[in-house]
């Protein structure tokens, strides 16, 4: 059997089997799902990109198979999926409806693989929708639909998916084929009006999944309310499907002369990232903070893709991979805190650093990667993005990105401080470190973040082959990508990452050794209750941590931007629609006589109009 089909059968069949297994032998469920996912990962990695499967359904020719671009995203999906499932076994322990949860979990991973292996628009859409509803079912898994977040997610997904579908059928009506290669080959032959319309409709579809402004309103709640083990996949991999789609559209369906679309997309993404960052800054719930942060980060990725330069696209894809790595780590870490402490409200928790040190380490590394500080991987992506934008003349765009990533320091610090630093409270004294099966995925992912900072070549190599399949030819030195440690821009400026790493680590170690050895004997640890407080004596039960209105001054500085949320506009629009619908409903007033009158009137109208318009 073709391994592509086997892959899908394993995923979907396995999902159903997990559901049934949970009914009869719940004990085996966890082992089964993890083994299944690992098996699928193995199968995925053994499936080359040359494997193609052609078949017809309903007279529609379809083709499956990975390209090197989708393979790159596939790696994200299977790696994150496996790790998140391992994490999930501990995280979800003791919750109910696990069969339901794992079924949808596996469904959505399977659907993502399906999306990536689709070489035609129909199977793309087919799996896209499976992904949508399976993720919807997980979003509402945790119970009551507070302010209808699940529905909002579904509505936006549906709008996105259907505009995609519209584009797909229009494309087909011109080209007569759904195959991506045919579409790419002949898209430029059709009228430019339709061409732009198709691109925009497709981008609405992908923009919803990648939570781009102004289609992002579902995302914060959906990310923050699904179980964290799934959010890791949701934000890490599922939103990347939108990015993947954007890549397809921007590189293959928008002609290069059409710079306006690229420009508009890039600016939308930039506004998304700035606003989402600002919203993230003012959140006090760690999950929502990360949710907004995800939106912002995907904004960078899309800016990179839309910059349409070699370095920019590489930066976008690199950030896509890396965002999957560090953001899922962060969601996992927050999930670990949620599981061990019971809340993620940062105004309630503080000082977990000594209780959950490994979780802190994973969070710290991921945050450094997120903030884009050298020497971790985030810096590499950010650097490439900035340089790409600067060298290609997107001067103001780069300022937006800078604004967003500088403001990102604020929430980066917030999340570390809010959960791990600050006063160590006696009420958290009993908190224990998360179980090993939650820590290991986090630490593995953190390791990738670290490694990618000095030796990004091992990620850039698959990215480069992905870009070749998007039609970008390298103009950079690329003999030994694995060892690539020097980044270049097109002006020839460079950053030598190993030098950076050596310098930072060297100075850090020397300084650390110095400060530790100097006066080692008289070095004292004191509790966080013993702080200088103008002489006031803090009792153990006094919480002196500063948590509420953390960034109030900043909030005051940017208040014009926060005055009215886009969400409100949608709510008003929805209310208006419902009122209109209620009005329409009055047509059926329940009175039989009226219905009879309608019939007569309609007939009369037809007879009158019929002679005029229908040519009798």
């Amino acid at each position: 059997m073709n391994s592509l089909i086997l892959l899908l059968i394993l995923m979907f069949g396995g999902a159903l089997f997990a559901f049934i297994l949970n009914k009869f032998v719940p004990a085996l469920r966890d082992i089964f799902v993890v083994l299944l996912m690992l098996g699928v990962s193995y199968l995925f990695f053994s499936t080359g990109i040359s494997n193609r499967l052609n078949f017809d359904v309903l007279g529609i020719h379809m083709q499956w198979g990975f390209t090197s671009a989708s393979y790159l995203f596939g790696i994200i999906v299977v790696v994150l999926g496996s790790l998140a499932l391992i994490y999930s076994t501990a995280y979800m322990k003791g919750k109910d409806r696990l069969g339901y949860f794992y079924m949808n979990f596996l469904f959505s991973i399977g659907a993502m693989l399906g999306i990536l292996m689709s070489r035609d628009l129909i199977s793309l859409f087919f799996f896209w929708e499976i992904m949508t509803w399976s993720s919807y079912f997980i979003v509402i898994y945790s119970g009551n639909d507070v302010d209808r977040r699940g529905l909002k997610y579904m509505i936006f997904s549906a709008i996105g998916a259907y505009s995609m579908l519209m584009a797909i059928v229009i494309v087909n009506s011109f080209i007569g084929s759904f195959l991506l290669e045919d579409v790419f080959a002949s898209i430029f032959a059709i009228g430019s009006g339709y061409q732009i319309a198709i691109a925009i409709l497709l981008m609405i579809g992908f923009g919803v999944k990648s939570a781009m402004m102004p289609l992002h309103v579902w995302a914060p709640r959906a990310y923050s309310e699904s179980p964290m083990s799934y959010t890791a996949v949701f934000s890490g991999a599922l939103s990347k499907m939108g990015v993947f789609g954007f890549a397809l559209v921007l590189f293959n369906l928008v002609s290069t002369q059409n710079w306006l679309i690229n420009e508009v997309v890039a600016w939308l993404a930039a506004i998304t990232s700035v606003l989402a960052t600002f919203y993230a800054v003012i959140q006090s719930d760690a999950k929502k903070l990360l949710a907004y942060s995800s939106i912002a980060q995907i904004g960078y990725i899309i800016i990179g893709l839309a910059s349409n330069t070699y370095l920019g696209v590489m930066a976008g894809l690199f950030l896509a991979v890396l965002h999957a790595v560090f953001k899922s780590t962060l969601f996992m870490a927050v999930g670990a805190v949620e599981r061990q402490v019971g809340t993620t409200d940062m105004t309630k928790i503080s000082g977990l650093i000594r209780r959950m040190p490994w979780t802190f380490v994973a969070t710290l590394i991921s945050i450094i990667a997120l903030a884009g500080l050298p020497p971790l991987g985030g810096f590499v992506g950010k650097w490439m993005l900035y340089e790409a934008l600067i060298t290609s003349g997107h001067y103001y765009l780069v300022i937006m990105v800078f604004l967003s990533s500088t403001a990102a320091f604020l929430y980066s610090y917030r999340i570390l401080f809010g959960m791990f630093l600050g006063q160590e409270e006696p009420e958290f004294a009993h908190v224990k470190e998360a179980p090993l099966s939650m820590l290991i995925p986090m630490l593995i992912l953190s390791g990738i973040s670290v490694l990618s900072g000095s030796h990004p070549g091992f990620i850039l190599e698959p990215i480069q082959s992905a870009m070749a399949s998007f039609g970008f030819q390298s103009n950079l030195p690329h003999e030994s990508w694995w060892e690539l440690t020097v980044l270049f821009n097109t002006w020839g400026d460079k950053v030598a990452l190993v030098n950076v790493l050596t310098s930072i680590v060297g100075v850090f170690l020397i300084a650390l050794a110095f400060i530790t050895i100097k006066g080692y004997k008289n070095q004292r640890y004191v509790t966080t209750k013993d702080i200088s407080s103008s002489g006031e004596i803090i009792q153990p039960e006094d919480n002196m941590t500063f948590q509420i209105d953390f960034y109030k001054p900043f909030e005051r500085a940017i208040w014009p931007l926060l005055k009215r949320k886009i969400d409100d506009y949608y709510t008003d629009f929805g209310k208006g629609l419902e009122a209109l619908f209620d009005f329409v409903r009055r047509f059926y007033n329940g009175n039989g006589q009226f219905y009879a009158i309608y019939v007569m009137a309609f007939l009369a109208l037809l007879l009158i109009a019929g002679t005029k318009y229908f040519g009798f």
Binding site: F126, L151, Y162, R585, Y598, G610, F614
Partner: protein
């Protein structure tokens, strides 16, 4: 016994009249006989369809030795045969569902129920199979009368009111169709549809228009076209659950069959297609929008059903081969899926007086199987892959795109979003609310479960592998569009 299409009409009718007699012998026979009959009909459907498809002909059955165009005849063409097969199989599944339905309370009325149900099914099958326009009117009346009675089956105030509305509007339908037939006969002097189609070019265009409009409105009422569908929501709500499934799955389909047969074969005027499409779009948009604001489950399903019929009309109105294919596919999908929704939905609100959606809160835990099937049906009806509804919607869109009806595509998709909203709202209530309602729940009987499961499996199988049925539908679409072939096939029987 030689298998012939006439058995579709004869056996169920005979059975319907014999049921009370058998009821005297044994109560249980009343329940069993319809099943046997429908099973047999399903069997002959398979045989006949096989014959029709493999030999690429259509079976024209002459009744009482009168050859066309003079006598009454039955035409088992790929299109009508497909619908007849669908109706008989669906009928069998619904019979399986009804076997134990409300047994404890309704025992005394069982006979009546099954007699009416058999008549209803006979009527619908008759509509699609007949080759005679007046005969079609007769079957329409059989259908209508049994439908009126079934609507008022529970002998409640609301039921009676709904039946009355149906009767009121339905009698308009009968009147218009009869009037149209009379006028038509005055013009062409024949009642055989093939013959009419052949002679149609001779008809005075003005007269032609009037007749067509009368047919349009008459069948439009049965096909639940806006603004003629005022009766429908009440009827769906008040009729017993499985009857709702029959309405949605068969009666409406028969109405649509009548409409498209008249438009495509008898008149073949392309000027009417835009009207059909526009009416379809309006029907769809208005009813889906109203469905969003419904508080009662069955009313919501009813409006949704109307909306789907609107979509079918749109597809027929586009009129290309692809569109007709999509329309027939959607008719099939809708019959299966909406039946599943009605059947499972009935158990979800089994004891609820008001049948409010809010009564469903948290029922997913008490009725996991039924709720699951309902959820599956909901996902399928809104056209989410990998369920059957997706492919038909896709084909309709493709057909619309091919003739550049971008606005229609946009409206269909916008309406689909509305559809998603109200179905998912119900699903959310089923699964993610705490159960507060004290209404007793009813566990479906085993046979009901089996019948629903069959429908669900059909939905999934068609969804994953639509080619299983696309061949049949393809032939049906070809048949509908190929007017000459129809005329020749029917009339050639007459010439021999």
């Amino acid at each position: 016994m030689v298998i012939s299409p006439v058995q579709y009409i004869a056996i169920p009718l005979i059975a319907a009249f014999l049921i009370p007699l058998f009821g005297k012998l044994n109560k249980e026979l009343v329940r069993i006989i319809p099943g046997l009959v429908l099973l047999y009909l399903s069997y002959i459907s398979v045989v006949l369809m096989n014959q029709v498809i493999s030999q690429n002909t259509m079976i024209v059955e002459i009744i009482a030795g009168w050859r066309p165009p003079w006598g009454i005849n039955l035409v088992f063409s790929p299109f009508s045969g497909f619908l007849a097969s669908l109706f008989s199989m669906l009928g069998f599944i619904i019979w399986m569902y009804t076997y134990n339905f409300k047994r404890e309370v309704e025992d005394a009325q069982t006979e009546k129920f099954y007699v009416l149900m058999m008549m209803l099914i006979t009527g619908t099958i008759g509509i699609v199979l007949t080759g005679d326009i007046f005969n079609m009117f007769v079957f329409l009346e059989i259908t209508a009368i049994s439908a009126y009675s079934l609507t008022a089956f529970y002998r409640e105030r609301d039921g009676a009111e709904a039946a009355f509305k149906y009767l009121l509007v339905g009698s308009f339908a009968s009147f218009f169709i009869l009037l149209a037939i009379v006028l038509l006969y005055s013009q062409v002097g024949t009642l055989n549809m093939a013959d009419i189609a052949q002679k149609m070019p001779d008809v005075n265009p003005y007269m032609k228009g009037v007749i067509l409009m009368l047919f349009f409105v008459g069948f439009g009422i049965e096909a639940e076209m806006f603004p003629l569908n005022g009766w429908a929501p009440d009827v769906y709500t008040q009729a017993p659950g499985p009857i709702g499934a029959i309405f949605a799955g068969m009666v409406v389909k028969a109405g649509i069959y009548g409409l498209v047969r008249v438009i495509f074969t008898l008149f073949d005027v392309h000027e009417i297609f835009p009207l059909l499409m526009i009416m379809g779009v309006i029907t769809m948009a208005v009813s889906e929008v109203i469905a969003l604001r419904q508080g009662k489950l069955k009313r919501m399903l009813a409006y949704s059903s109307i909306g789907q019929m609107g979509l079918v009309l749109v597809a027929f109105g586009i009129g290309t081969h692809e569109a007709v294919f999509a329309a027939i596919f959607l008719m099939f999908n809708h019959a299966v899926i909406k039946s599943l929704l009605f059947l499972s939905g009935t158990y979800l609100v089994y004891h609820s007086k008001e049948k409010n959606i809010s009564d469903l809160d948290g029922i997913g835990k008490s009725l996991p199987f039924t709720s699951f099937l309902f959820a599956l049906g909901s996902l399928a009806i809104v056209g989410l892959p990998p369920f059957a509804g997706f492919w038909s919607k896709l084909y309709i869109l493709m057909a619309a795109a091919d003739v550049r009806l971008i606005a229609v595509i946009a409206i269909i998709l916008a309406v689909s979003v509305v559809e998603i909203v109200y179905y998912f709202r119900v699903l959310h209530r089923i699964y993610f609310r705490e159960r507060i309602s004290t209404i007793e729940i009813k566990i479906p009987s085993f046979n009901a479960k089996i019948s629903m499961l069959i429908l669900a499996i059909v939905i999934i199988v068609i969804g994953v592998y639509p080619d299983l049925i696309s061949g049949l539908i393809e032939r049906a679409a070809t048949d509908l569009l190929d007017k000459q072939h129809y005329i020749q096939s029917v009339l050639s029987v007459g010439l021999h």
